[in-house]
């Protein structure tokens, strides 16, 4: 019999390792990652094409996005809407995302229809119609989408912070899907040229996860083995560096809250301090009772939630406090946040490190428990130019993190006098209090 006040012991965590994918290449250079996950009845597929967005002609920025969005608007074998019908008929869904280093298509389909779905996926990337009328329509929709992005406080903050942290010469300082000017300039010829140059088997990785049978490789070969594109890929990925700190106010008259970003241009997964930075970010702003959330949410009630987020790119990354605070407390919240992320005077403790490491290791089985979870995480690694081995290597690196190494890493990464601040809110109401609190900011238009 256990008394109600007696807190149960916690059993040792089960041994868990990431079940690595089978990795092979077709003769045309296409890389295939196959992850067997019994019990996962919906297969999750990612087709990732290594396309650095700096490969876009500058006057046509956004062309990668428009090209991707037109892929499912008809193919040689399934013209016009008949392509989407063929996909939806077998219960498949197809989504896309264009990042600064890869253009990725995500396909989910019930296991029994996987072979058919792969054949359709191959059609979309190999023989899309790319009709002028569809290209024009998607440009029009993209222009509408920009209005919606700029109307969103959170997305504006994200955009402004990126712009404030990265020098202009780097593509990643601007919107991945293009600006109003560049999208308006995109032509059908530009889209077709971009597709012909960039969609190539030797730049592509196909990730397939699910309760897979033995026929999956044959299905991949049927769909992709005879895909060949002349020439080679030569565009290098950019390696951005940091811009000098900026403090920007983005005006949203009458907004009841301000979205805040406070941080720096940071590091990517290949940096030797990555595990330290992940642990430190969890302690300071990842856990529910992180230093930031404990004070700014649970003690002060200033926000629904505040985080310190490590957002890696292929090279470098963004490291920032992210939160939305009611207008009246913004200056105080920013000052408190700056104090809380400065770990020099209040170093990270061994107990905090132990909790953070235990969180990262303990949550891995859940993170990778579904076909979609596996495919999405692998896709992020592939886009970053890494392999699945990163997962176990990172877990080993986490176990080596100490209070000193985590404290040192964050101290190095977040120098208090080099922080960039972005506040998206009612500029009239924010300017005075921010200046008085030692955060004078200039108004900036996105």
């Amino acid at each position: 019999m256990r008394r109600p006040e007696h807190r149960p012991e916690v059993g040792a965590p089960a041994r868990w390792r990431f079940g690595e994918p089978d990795r092979l290449w077709l003769d045309n250079g296409l890389q295939v990652l196959v992850c067997h996950r019994p019990g996962q009845h919906v297969a999750s597929v990612c087709l990732s094409v290594d396309i650095p967005l700096n490969a876009e002609p500058e006057q046509f920025e956004g062309v990668a996005t428009i090209a991707q969005r037109c892929l499912d608007e008809g193919t040689a074998a399934h013209p016009g809407p008949s392509f989407a019908e063929a996909l939806e008929d077998i219960g498949a869904s197809l989504d896309g995302s264009v990042g600064y280093s890869a253009s990725q298509l995500f396909l989910d389909v019930p296991m029994p229809r996987l072979g058919e779905a792969l054949a359709l996926l191959a059609e979309a990337v190999r023989t899309p119609e790319l009709e002028a009328v569809e290209i024009e329509r998607h440009c029009e929709l993209r222009l509408a989408e920009i209005d919606h992005t700029l109307a969103s406080s959170t997305r504006s903050a994200q955009l402004a912070f990126r712009k404030a942290c990265l020098p202009k010469r780097f593509r990643a300082s601007r919107m991945a899907a293009g600006s109003p000017e560049s999208v308006a300039a995109i032509t059908a010829a530009a889209v077709r040229r971009f597709h012909a140059q960039q969609y190539r088997p030797d730049a592509t990785t196909l990730i397939i996860t699910g309760d897979l049978g033995s026929g999956v490789l044959a299905a991949v070969e049927d769909a992709f083995a005879d895909w060949s594109v002349p020439g080679d890929t030569s565009q290098e990925h950019q390696a951005p560096n940091r811009r000098r700190p900026h403090r920007w106010l983005i005006d949203r008259p009458g907004a009841v809250q301000a979205d805040i970003r406070l941080g720096v241009f940071g590091i990517d997964r290949t940096d030797p301090r990555w595990a330290d930075a992940q642990v430190a970010a969890h302690v300071v702003g990842g856990a529910f009772l992180s230093r930031l959330n404990r004070v700014l949410r649970e003690e002060r009630g200033f926000t629904y939630g505040v985080h310190l987020v490590n957002q890696p790119m292929r090279s470098g990354g963004l490291l920032a406090v992210q939160g939305s605070f009611r207008t009246e407390v913004v200056a105080e919240a920013v000052t408190l946040a700056a104090k809380l992320i400065d770990v020099r005077t209040n170093p990270i403790t061994e107990a905090e490190v132990a909790e953070a490491v235990s969180y990262h290791l303990g949550s891995a089985p859940l993170r990778y428990s579904t076909a979609q979870g596996v495919t999405q995480h692998l896709a992020a690694l592939v886009a970053a130019g890494l392999t699945a081995q990163f997962i176990d290597a990172h877990n080993l690196a986490l176990a080596q993190v100490t209070a000193t190494s985590a404290t040192d890493a964050l101290t190095e990464l977040l120098p208090p006098d080099r922080l960039t601040l972005v506040a998206v809110g009612d500029a009239g109401a924010l300017r005075g209090p921010l200046t008085d609190a030692g955060w004078p900011a200039t108004e900036h238009r996105l």
């Binding site: 256990r2 006040e5 807190r7 149960p8 012991e9 916690v10 059993g11 965590p13 089960a14 019994p38 019990g39 009845h41 919906v42 499912d72 809407p81 989407a84 019908e85 939806e88 008929d89 219960g91 498949a92 869904s93 989910d108 389909v109 019930p110 329509r137 929709l141 222009l143 509408a144 209005d147 700029l150 109307a151 969103s152 009458g254 009841v256 809250q257 856990a287 529910f288 009772l289 404990r294 949410r297 649970e298 002060r300 009630g301 200033f302 926000t303 629904y304 939305s324 009611r326 909790e355 953070a356 235990s358 969180y359 303990g362 089985p365 859940l366 428990s369 579904t370 076909a371 979609q372």
Partner: protein, 430 residues
């Protein structure tokens, strides 16, 4: 897809205090999803209490007899667990998805707050969480374009006095009125073993699961389960109720809404499929006709919002292109609805909508936490947890005639409510 693919084992027991426990073993990953449903949602809030169910969900994390404020989340998170809670019209649910070794701790934490929270509410906790919830309201509703749509829509469809006539976030004034005493009273009324369903999905044995649940919750006293009066089903709308909102939004949007039957009835499912044929996905009629061919609007969307208390909501949404009005789109939409009511869906359209439903359903079931939540859903709202394994069959049996009839009877143009969102002029003073 053969229906037996998604045939998950589901075992049920009733504890002596009335708590219903479901166990569904799955050894594929060394984790367990603990999912606890309380039969209380925004529909149980009376006038003057709007937002309380959600505010009090926050208080569930503010400490109980043997647990400090925030400690529940902190403890399980530091073991790699994922912990959260949500409030909806029909329920409040709590999730703890944890490594198997932490199952007892998760159950104990849930039992401690269920058993003792009402006696451990401080003014400070209520004040802080009230501020946090107000920030949530500002962040998710007040500071977001179109953020005020849902409250206006449900009021339009049900009337403000109906249990579904307000949304979970509530009003600032009602949140201000909450006190530790009213919170304690609310908890004693709704948070009881006999008003709860506990589902465990994961790497456990059936008997072991029941034993652990009994050990954690068995000592808590139960009462007779409160019986809800049978909900009234409202007839379709008449008189075209309309409402206009305006704000600093990038484009005009219109929402057409209908009263549907209660969730997961055959006629609800038929209306759901009708909405899918009309507006879900790239092949849907509205996307093909309005977005692609005629380029009248930027996007269309369709959704059935399932509710148990007599009626659900059916929704079509049209977003205008920049600087364009949405009105032509509405006319064209209503033509499409009338056409579907007159002719029904083609066999291909119906098969497609079902194939999409199948994938979505199997995807939901692929996650331990989502599977546990669905089992709790069917246990609490339908008194039939095993229905999780029959839903694909049920949907597959809906015929084209049923879809046509549902469109004609439930989605008639004259039975809609309409909410129009206008773009506020930048120079206008408000």
């Amino acid at each position: 897809m053969p229906a037996d693919v998604a045939n998950y084992p589901i075992h049920s027991q009733l504890l002596s205090n009335g708590m219903r426990v479901l166990v569904s073993p799955d050894k594929s990953v060394p984790i367990v999803a603990v999912n606890l449903w309380y039969d209380v949602g925004s529909r149980d809030e009376r006038a003057g209490e709007h937002g309380w169910a959600h505010l009090f969900e926050h208080l569930m994390f503010s400490g109980s007899a043997h647990v400090a404020s925030g400690e529940h989340l902190q403890l399980l998170q530091s073991l790699g667990g994922s912990v959260n809670a949500t409030t909806w019209f029909d329920r409040t649910n709590y999730f703890d998805t944890v490594p198997v070794g932490a199952l007892d701790l998760a159950l104990w934490l849930e039992a401690d707050r269920l058993g003792t929270l009402a006696d451990h509410l401080s003014t400070e906790a209520v004040d802080t969480q009230r501020d946090v919830v107000k920030e949530e309201k500002r962040q998710r509703y007040d500071n977001v374009p179109y953020g005020d749509v849902m409250p206006a829509l449900v009021a339009l469809v049900f009337g403000a006095d109906h249990p579904y006539g307000h949304t979970t976030i509530g009003s600032m004034a009602d949140l201000d009125a909450a006190t530790p005493a009213s919170a304690a009273d609310f908890f004693r009324t709704h948070y009881r073993p006999d008003n709860a369903v506990l589902t465990l999905v994961g790497d456990i044995n059936v008997r072991d699961g029941f034993r652990r649940a009994e050990r954690a919750f068995g000592h808590l006293p139960g009462r007779n389960r409160r019986r809800r009066p049978a909900p009234k089903t409202l007839p379709p709308l008449t008189g075209l109720p309309r409402h206009t909102l305006s704000g600093k939004v990038p484009a005009e949007v219109s929402y057409l809404a209908w009263r549907l039957p209660a969730r997961d009835t055959a006629s609800f499912d038929a209306a759901d499929l009708a909405l899918a044929v009309l507006g879900a996905g790239q092949t849907s009629r509205l996307h093909q006709r309005l977005v692609k061919e005629r380029r009248l609007v930027a996007s269309t969307a369709a959704q059935a919002l399932p509710l148990i208390g007599g009626n659900s909501i059916g929704l079509l949404q049209l977003r205008a292109l920049p600087l364009r009005a949405v009105s032509d789109g509405i006319e064209a939409t209503l033509e499409q609805v009338a056409k579907l009511a007159a002719e029904g869906p083609t066999e291909a359209e119906l098969a497609r909508a079902k194939a999409q439903f199948t994938r979505e359903w199997l995807t939901d079931l692929s996650r331990f936490d989502a599977r546990a939540d669905l089992i709790s859903t069917y246990a609490m709202l339908h008194d039939d947890p095993a229905r999780v394994n029959r839903r694909l069959d049920e949907a597959s049996q809906i015929t084209a005639d049923q879809v046509q009839a549902a469109t004609a009877e439930l989605l008639a143009p004259e039975a809609r409510a309409q909410l129009d969102y206008h773009v506020e002029d930048d120079n206008a003073t408000s």
